[in-house]
């Protein structure tokens, strides 16, 4: 349910963009949901609709696309995908709230290092905003 706060961030940003560009309406917002954070799509969508009511984004189409979580080891340069179903549920839950907790629970499968970069699929990201 902290998806509401994530949705709030998105809506705020979209509205700021609309304002900055003097747009009356937001037509479409393309959002990426990183696999690492495992945002619940349904709650997130509901929140986006609720939160954009009575704003220029009211009738916007919010399209959501999942982005795989790719990590890259800073030590041995190995790159790997996080397999969702291989995470322990408790750990997945903590990473859901704070993706950086990945550095506490995940390790480079090649060299065991906790020192890796989250190359993609970290959190929620706005890919594009179409204004009307």
């Amino acid at each position: 349910m902290h998806e509401w706060a994530l949705a709030e961030s998105v809506v705020l940003t979209v509205l700021r963009v609309a304002e900055e560009r003097n747009a009356a309406r937001v037509l479409r917002v393309r959002i990426k949901l990183g696999e690492l954070q495992q945002v619940e799509e349904e709650i997130f969508s509901t929140a986006l609709r609720e939160l954009s009511k009575n704003t220029p984004a009211e009738d916007a189409e919010f399209s959501l696309a999942r982005e795989p979580a790719v990590l890259k080891c800073n030590r041995c340069s190995h790159e790997w995908k996080v397999e969702r179903d291989k995470l322990k549920p408790e750990e997945a839950e903590l990473i859901h709230f704070l993706p950086e907790a990945a550095h506490t629970y995940l390790r480079c499968p090649r060299c065991g290092s906790p020192d890796f970069a989250i190359e993609s699929g970290r959190g929620v990201w706005i890919e594009s905003v179409e204004l009307g």
Binding site: A5, E8, S9, P114, D115
Partner: protein
Amino acid sequence: MREAEKQLSGVRRVVCVGSGKGGVGKSLVSATAALLLSQRSRRVGLLDLDFYGPSAHLILGAWDLMPTEDRGVVPPEIHGVRLMSIAPYIGEGPSALRGSDATHAMLELLAITRWGELDLLLVDMPPGTGDEILDVVKFIPAAEWLVVSTPSKLSIQTVRRLLLLLRETGSKIMGAIENMAEGEACVEEFCRAEGVQFLGSVPRDPKVERAIGRPELLLRTEFARRLEAIVRKLK
């Protein structure tokens, strides 16, 4: 994205407890100040931004208090203080964050935490003048700074670097507190030279250690009594 503003919109004042130097008592001062203010019926939040050595939860005895999920994350309340920290998420595990990870973690906490209405949000800063400091300056420009130093030359020299940074970025410096005072008025003199308000001294108090994790006990230490005189000045 991930704006701090919305979640901080009900917060009247953000006060960062910083130093540049480690081990000067930033965490002890910020946690105790939060307790003192809460006792005086202020609505107080405490945000621990030390991602490598989070301490606020240890001082307040809130090891296993998890934030609850409700249209965001609602900080647990302990002795009237709403506490947010990385600790519930990393437990006692290692914290191998590079600077950009710290930036992300901070923005995430700011984006999800529902502070609600607060008279004051105290921010317990990590040592150094790196990512966390630069990010607070960038994302919470209205933050005011309460600087902590011990009388040691090693502390004062580093605190000076922080003050220069805060000045240059137009940050508001409320003043400086001397912690673990030891006779000579080194920090007061330093404040005069730097044109920073000296807020007062708090002595080294050996009783503090036993009171870590026990807020009632902590509030009854000489340390807390002396800090109260300073906190009162801040209204």
